[in-house]
Symmetry: C2
Subunit: 584 residues, 2 copies
């Protein structure tokens, strides 16, 4: 067997699937759309008068394997445009006819044939069906508009995983299984963290346990801010459109904003905090001695996203960011960016994210400001990154409309990358708001503004982190840190409640499970809740002033004294702040 590259294998497997479908439903007029290679396999869009089921996918797979065993040669044929049109018209493949019609006149049109099946295709392909490894799995069927156009017909898109060998496929299927188990929407529901309601699309409702995580994250960032000299501010959410004109959002971001009329004037719900912070800076007189001035703001933001684009917590219409704006002198940028990179790396490491990628995004096509200013801004960021010693890639044209930016991506437990932090340099807003500070020479100068967020949207971060830890939060962040279970309510409940009060008074989030259920049932329930610790109290524990402690995921419990338990909790609770920022 000649060595074919993975893309070719996947592409030929897409044809294989189409052929199998044709064979299984010979009486239906099946229309094939496009069947491209995607990240971990391929899909094919088909239009047919039969809704494909899970069972059908199994049958199609079997048929595909049969065709492989038939060792059909795969042959390339070049046709004239008219010839191709005549052929596919005759075959009743209207979608293919439409595709051919949209090709440039000069384009060579090729088809590939294997046995009775002919498909319009640029190729290349493997030489015969038996060149294909049996390392594919049809995953699911989803609706997809023909040519992505909401006004055209809905096709059935059959997704398949496809790899070079069974081992790679198995690994991928395991990954998918794991990702499914960790799906934050599923976990969010199971752990009673959050849910959605029809009256507020893409706007999560955080239940008590979800809100505890949310507030702990805010407090975590506040502790970090305290060490890095940030000052929190609180700013309004609904502001006159005049402000959004000044900031440029009205021209560049209007389609993502919500508007409301008040006293016959137009107001917008803020999609970003920056214009408010510009007003604050302008309201007072600052000198070089006050800079860098760092305003942090956990203000709630609203950004319109199309109904089709929203998903779980990762793409919502309302969220808070660990947002801050730094007002700084031109000369201070490099040092501040280095400080920011240190803060980012310390925090990401603390959350257990191992791989961290840094990208520098440069000026986009649709931008505010002249090229000379952009040159200056991009150069400043490059120098700062070079000095900070982290590797980084350059993403040409991916900057915000108001300035270049640094994006930071982290890899989660399943090795998927997520963009979390951003650092954006801004020479535009200080100009638009006519910001000034007094220099050490007593002259007036314009500060530079840095927009930065570390966790980014807290909603999105909770989604990403929930999947990263598969719902099993570290002690300091867990909504319930320990659940105390008396073996027998009649004899052990009082002692359990006393321990509960002790731990509560020490600041921990604990509760007693005193339901009249079996120990086995309670244990399973507590494991399902993923609370870090289950503390069982029986006769022995009461005698010894101890607890039987079982960590989440552990098979067995061990016995420790109450004093040791408190010592252990105290130690674990130190993780509320990264070790690098802890004080003696």
């Amino acid at each position: 067997m000649a060595a074919f590259d993975l893309d070719t294998i996947r592409h030929s497997s897409a044809h294989l699937m189409a052929q199998a479908i044709s064979r299984l439903w010979p009486d239906l007029n099946i229309q094939f759309g496009v069947g491209p290679v995607i990240e971990s396999g391929f899909y094919y869009d088909v239009e047919m008068d039969h809704k494909l089921s899970e069972d059908d996918l199994k049958s199609i797979e079997d048929e595909m394997k049969k065709i492989i065993k038939e060792k059909l040669p795969i042959e390339r044929k070049v046709l004239e445009k008219e010839e191709a049109l005549t052929f596919f018209k005759k075959e009743g493949q209207d979608l293919k006819v439409e595709l051919i019609n949209s090709l440039p006149e000069s384009e060579e049109i090729s088809c590939y044939q294997q046995g009775e099946f002919i498909d319009l295709c640029r190729g290349p392909h493997v030489e015969k069906t038996s060149d294909l490894p049996m390392a594919f799995k049809l995953l699911h069927v989803a609706g997809a508009y023909w040519r992505g156009d909401e006004k055209r017909q809905m096709l059935q898109r059959v997704y398949a995983a496809c790899f070079k060998d069974r081992k790679e496929l198995k690994e991928h299927l395991h990954f998918l299984e794991e990702a499914k188990k960790r799906d934050h929407r599923k976990l969010g529901k199971e752990l009673e963290l959050f849910h959605f309601e029809k009256v507020a699309p893409a706007s999560p409702f955080f239940m008590p346990k979800g809100a505890r995580i949310y507030n702990e994250l805010v407090d975590f960032m506040r502790r970090v801010y305290r060490e890095y000299g940030y000052d929190e501010v609180i700013t309004p959410q609904i502001l006159d459109s005049d402000l959004w004109q000044t900031s440029g959002h009205y021209d560049h971001y209007k389609e993502n904003m919500y508007f409301s009329n008040i006293d016959e004037k137009e107001y917008a719900v803020k999609p970003m905090n920056c214009p408010c912070h510009m007003l604050m800076f302008a309201h007072y007189k600052y000198s070089y001695r006050d800079l860098p001035l760092r305003y942090a703001d956990f203000g709630r933001l609203h950004r319109y996203e199309k109904a089709g684009a929203v998903a779980g917590l990762t793409r919502v219409r309302t969220f808070c960011q660990d947002d801050a704006h730094i007002f700084i002198e031109m000369e201070g940028i490099q040092k501040e960016i280095q400080k920011l990179m240190e803060m980012f790396f310390i925090c990401y490491k603390h959350f257990g994210f191992k791989n961290i990628k840094v990208n520098l995004s440069t000026r986009p096509e649709k931008k505010a400001g002249d090229d000379a200013t952009w040159d200056k801004a991009e150069e400043a960021l490059k120098q700062a990154l070079d000095a900070s010693g982290h590797e980084y890639s350059i993403k040409e044209g991916d900057g915000a409309f108001y300035g270049p930016k640094i994006d930071v991506e982290i890899s989660d437990a399943l090795n998927r990358y997520h963009q979390l932090g951003t650092i954006q340099l801004d020479f535009q807003l200080p100009e638009r708001f006519n910001l000034k500070y007094t220099t050490s020479e007593g002259t007036e100068s314009r500060p530079v503004v840095i927009h930065r967020a570390l966790l980014g949207s807290l909603e999105r971060f909770i989604g990403v982190y929930l999947e990263h830890v598969a719902g099993a939060f570290p002690f300091w962040l867990a909504p319930e840190q320990a659940i105390i279970v008396p073996v027998n309510n009649a004899t052990h409940l009082e002692y359990a409640q006393k321990l509960n009060t002790d731990l509560h008074n020490l600041g921990y989030r604990v509760r007693v499970d005193d339901r009249n259920e079996s120990m086995g049932y309670k244990t399973r329930q507590i494991q399902k809740s993923k609370a870090p610790f289950m503390l069982v109290i029986g006769d022995k524990e009461m005698e010894n002033d101890s607890v039987s402690i079982r960590s989440y995921g552990a098979k067995f419990a061990t016995s420790i004294s109450t004093a040791e338990l408190k010592e252990k909790f105290l130690e674990l609770n130190k993780e509320r702040i990264p070790v690098e920022l802890q004080k003696a």
Copy 2:
């Protein structure tokens, strides 16, 4: 001198003022509007072709005193309507003519004359001008539309304080002086706590120091919540009008809400959290074992207020409340209300509010639900209040549209009462949202909902509390708890910075003032900032490992060791939670 009551004295003094004005500007055609008695004096509306200044007020006062000394008798005259109209027309008093025309035909029309001055008036009055005590002060002039109608002409309203004797007047003027000094808008600016911007009417911008107070108050309530079994939730802010139809806000509160269209549907920015909490309760299955369930929510609310009605922090368009909703069984209401009253009294006492008034407000005219349900709700609150042992007044017809309520008013340092907390019983929302829980008998029943807020709007509370403490916050709440001043930067700065780091690491909000300014200047600045402590470091302090500590408002500093300082701060910081809720 016969004993005249204060209202009569004030009313006659208003005539006196009008006469004085007439005498001082004999050549102007001065129109007099109305001149009623108000809480601490009187005012008179006048229309004249001269803008009254501070100096004019002084001249008018002098003229008033002169007229008193003239001992003019004050005589009552009864006129026929036609007679009165003819007289005031002749006098050129068009406003009086309008007033006479609006009187019912049958009404007896009386005038009072003192010397050359005649005014239309129902009386009664003192007998002669010398019956009036010289215990008045003209305070200021404000614009006021004739008959309160924006479409009519603007008059000059001259306000005056007026009392029975000089002593009472003096006390009142002192009170006014004190209130002016404590005005939270003034203090907010001076202490750099918050300010307003044109682009966000009635929506405060909290600067770092203001945000610290704000966040400390939220944390304070969170600590209290922890002891009273509340669970925080986080809910969306923009919700489909369908929800507001269900909740009844669309019918009863629409004029105070902001609307925005999203995907061709109408949405509203939430003015209250309750409907979100109803959805949350309905989303899960609860049983009697889960009740009372207490959802707390610091969600930002938006309520439209007319531009003329807003003022400082006390009446804003956007605010957060320490809002919570309690879902409870009918039988649990009395116990829960008693618990609430305990919580309220503990907290208000902690903030140093001495007098606490409790009011029970009953069904208003515009209400939802039938009378039988209202009877039940009102009776439940009365019984609970009776059992809690606090005195209370009944405010007939002052309840919310959805249920009766308990209002709690507190008196501040200037003995002014402010309504802060509310407890509202609600039988309507559980009905509208079809809420159910499983009773101990396994049947389904409707929970009752209690809406409650203790501090109320945090914005308003900050305004009230700022005036109560005149900007000098207690240690635990102060935005800057101590400011460290090295006597000489060259020799004492390093030590000062070390102390600063120590205190910072212990969790305190401190800073070093290392500006090159004199000790006198710095001391004045720090006193002005009202920080609880100024810590001075000189040679002696460095030698002894001590600080020279000066409390806010103290004339002298005392010397204490650094260890004692830390002990003192630790003790003061315990006030972060009321003593009744502190743990050993």
